[in-house]
């Protein structure tokens, strides 16, 4: 079918000449995780600013430097880089191009470990996800009927294990407070835990989830992009009543397939942070100060129960609010790799 020709080229519309850009890590922009959320944030910010944007995906670690270099060559004014893996390349590029603003997601940009970021024009954006995961752990422990909850990750990266760490602390805290003995499968701390070995949704992910369900867990927290798809399959296959906990974004909204399964999600508001940072930079207010998302500043949080509202203990939400308060005021300590 042939449509009508447009009267005028739409590209001619007025634009700011600010050019924000983004580089993914090896996971790509469809990782259902931080690359995707940051990318969506950048797109939205560009729309809000009325500017063009450029994006490139990396396939391997060796792509970061050339990708950054080529973006610099394209005249980007701000470059968002996603993930700790890009840290070194970002620092290098930032040092070489002091006029360009950089936003590094999920890493402190401190490769010499002196406690300070290594280039002034980088804004590191970090999330103390353990705090939110702590709440999820508490909720899971309260929800479980079998007395067993489980988790598994893609690979033992700190940005992954921080979820598992917080989750474990939440379960432990619940056990201590309530004198219960809810068991956590899949994470013992110190890198000992269950990992699929990669961030692909594949049979390994499914089987990993299945093994955990075999141990009688009825709440499961998969951490690492699309590997939660494996849990979906495993849950459906098992025919059991198992609840899923999402990560990064509220699964209830981002993946409607999960609506009947998702107990809650551990939120990392990367989209919002990206939008805010990029829009501010576009308006000339780039603030290179590091940002750490916490429960207090709503950088991290716990999603609503949605369909599970009726299935959880009526008192749970109240307890969670109290725990959250405790974490914010420091009376309930939550540790993570960010405290070093």
């Amino acid at each position: 079918a042939c449509g009508d020709a447009p009267d005028e080229d739409k590209k001619g519309s007025a634009k700011s000449d600010f050019l924000p850009c983004i580089v993914s890590d090896a996971g790509g922009f469809d990782d259902k995780s931080f690359n995707q959320l940051s990318y969506e944030g950048l797109k939205e910010a560009a729309k809000e600013l009325g500017t063009d944007y450029k994006d490139v995906q990396s396939k391997t670690d060796q792509d970061y430097a050339p990708n950054l270099e080529n973006l610099v060559g394209q005249g980007c004014d701000l470059i968002v880089t996603v993930g700790f893996a890009l840290s070194a390349a970002t620092v290098e590029s930032a040092k070489a191009n002091p006029d360009i603003e950089y936003v590094l997601i999920d890493d402190a940009a401190d490769n010499d470990f002196d406690g300070n970021k290594d280039a002034d024009n980088i804004k590191p954006i970090l999330y103390d996800t353990a705090q939110a995961a702590f709440l999820a752990g508490y909720a899971a422990a309260d929800y479980t009927k079998t007395g067993t909850v489980g988790t598994y990750g893609g690979q033992p990266f700190p940005t992954v294990t921080i979820f598992m760490d917080g989750f474990k602390q939440g379960v432990d805290y619940y056990n201590k407070e309530k004198g219960k003995d809810v068991k956590l499968i899949g994470w013992e701390g110190n890198d000992k835990g269950v990992f699929t070995g990669g961030f692909d949704a594949n049979e390994k992910a499914t089987n990993t989830a299945k093994s955990i369900l075999d141990k009688n867990a009825d709440v499961i927290l998969p951490v690492g992009g699309p590997i939660y798809q494996g849990a979906l399959t495993a849950i459906k296959d098992s025919g059991k009543d198992v609840a899923l906990i999402g990560v990064d974004a509220d699964f209830y909204e981002t993946d409607p397939n999960t609506q009947s399964l998702v107990l809650t999600s551990i939120l990392k508001n990367m989209k919002t942070s990206t939008i805010e940072t990029v829009v501010a930079a576009g308006k000339g207010d780039f603030d290179p100060e590091a940002y750490v998302g916490t429960l207090e500043n709503d950088g991290v949080g716990l999603a609503p129960f949605h369909n599970f509202e009726s299935k959880v203990n009526p008192s749970l939400q109240g307890e969670l609010d109290k725990v959250k308060q405790g974490i914010i005021d420091g009376s309930i300590p939550v540790t993570s790799y960010l405290d070093k």
Binding site: G3, D4, D55, Q57, K59, Q62, N67, G73, F84
Partner: protein, 403 residues
């Protein structure tokens, strides 16, 4: 892939190694025309994919009946922009100021081709002795980890430190590949299986080392990554700090020369080729076939190892990661095959692939064209070059007289 077909069966084909050759020799015989046309053909297919990604083309296609001119000009712009970006990224960038800036892409191409040539030599050399080395990934990882470990932990002046780190890498690569050679020699274990498995084992081994304080993980860090390399262990830049091209490329050129000598002039290479072409005759002529498998894998592993060294001490000096092989271990197979397992062929194939890689980054950044297109173009080039009669038929060239 066996070689123990015995006598009496007349013309029953013997062994594999020759399979890597017959057709390949034809490639040499085929003229440069076929090579050029293969590239053209692959680019044409690439163009179709480029068009698919271009929104302008898609929208104008929507009203092609109403204003076909729009469509065709969009098509033209799309393709020419893409390949211009490829050229600008790989050879010469007219957009930049000054000759130095403009020629920079060429130096990037050379930088990218360095490890491809080194690893390609490793795969190709093993091929010549009848060993199919799919273990480039593992060998690069182990080599990079070893070089990185020496880089981070030794405190020496550059004249000692750098060679020591390079050597450590080559040695680690050699040992890792040597396992496959050793097992083949000792128990006949098929090198294809062993090298594939060693890729994974090597990956997790390096991963473990990178996750362990005191082994390779940067002190105080929790990420699976080592410290950055110190100045004294970094391959020097060849054209000053403005260019990324480093001495790894020289290493590759030297390796080409050495492997050329090895294969064509040395007694050892003579034995490699003899074993690769006919292990039975080699054995009857007093050549220790098992030992040859081991030796060739050691050298091949060292070469692939140098590709890993090139990455850690040259291209990405910010530290060892589990992803540092960047698929080069597998690309090397294609490079070696395209280069017909001959050193100069591998040099040429490595340069071509290096250029496509450099250009691919530029296409992605400038035109938003997915880098997968480069993969597709690469593989099509190899396929077409390997099938001259097909290319001739497509372009209706006269048939070459069969030898």
């Amino acid at each position: 892939m066996s070689t123990d077909m015995k006598t009496e069966f007349g013309e029953a084909p013997k062994g594999t190694p020759r399979r890597f050759d017959g057709v390949l020799r034809e490639i040499v015989a085929g003229n440069a025309m076929v090579a050029v046309l293969s590239v053209v053909l692959a680019m044409v297919v690439g163009s179709l994919m480029i068009l698919l990604t271009d929104e302008n083309v898609r929208t104008t296609a929507g009203y092609i009946g109403a204003r076909p001119g729009d469509f065709f000009s969009a098509v033209w712009t799309s393709i020419s922009d893409a390949y211009t970006a490829l050229f600008r990224g790989a050879v010469y960038n007219t957009n930049l100021q000054g000759f130095q800036g403009r020629i920079r892409p060429l130096t990037e191409t050379l930088k990218f081709s360095g490890p491809l040539i080194l690893a390609g030599l490793g795969v190709g050399l093993a091929f010549r002795a009848g060993m199919f080395n799919i273990g480039g990934r593992g060998q690069m990882l182990l080599a990079g980890a070893a070089a990185g470990w020496v880089g981070v932990n030794a405190d020496l002046p550059i004249v000692l430190h750098l060679p020591l780190a390079v050597l450590a890498g080559a040695l680690a690569g050699a040992l890792w590949a040597g396992i496959a050679g050793f097992l083949k020699a000792q128990s006949g274990a098929h090198e294809v299986i062993v090298t594939i498995m060693l890729n994974y084992v090597g990956y997790y081994l390096v991963f473990y080392a990178l996750s362990k304080q005191g082994l390779l993980q940067a002190p105080g860090s929790l990420n699976p990554k080592s410290e950055a390399m110190p100045e004294s262990a970094i391959l020097p830049k060849l054209l000053g700090d403005r260019f990324n091209l480093h001495a790894g490329f020289l290493l590759a050129l030297v390796a080409v020369a050495v492997v050329w000598w090895l294969l064509n002039k040395s007694a050892l290479g003579f034995r490699f080729r003899a074993v690769g072409e006919n292990p039975d005759a080699a054995r009857a002529a007093g050549i220790d076939v098992g030992r040859t498998y081991l030796v060739v894998m050691l050298i091949a592993g060292a070469l692939v190892g140098l590709a890993g060294v090139n990455q850690i001490l040259g291209t990405t000096t910010s530290g060892v990661t589990v992803d540092m092989d960047a698929g080069i271990g597998f690309d090397a197979i294609t490079v070696a095959l395209l280069g017909r397992s001959r050193p100069l062929g591998i040099l040429a194939a490595g340069l071509l692939f290096g250029g496509l890689k450099a250009g691919g980054f530029s296409m992605a950044a400038a035109e938003g064209i997915p880098v997968e297109i480069v993969l597709v173009i690469q593989s099509l080039i190899v396929l077409f070059i390997a099938a001259p009669p097909l290319v001739r038929a497509i372009f209706r060239l006269p048939k070459e007289a069969t030898a």
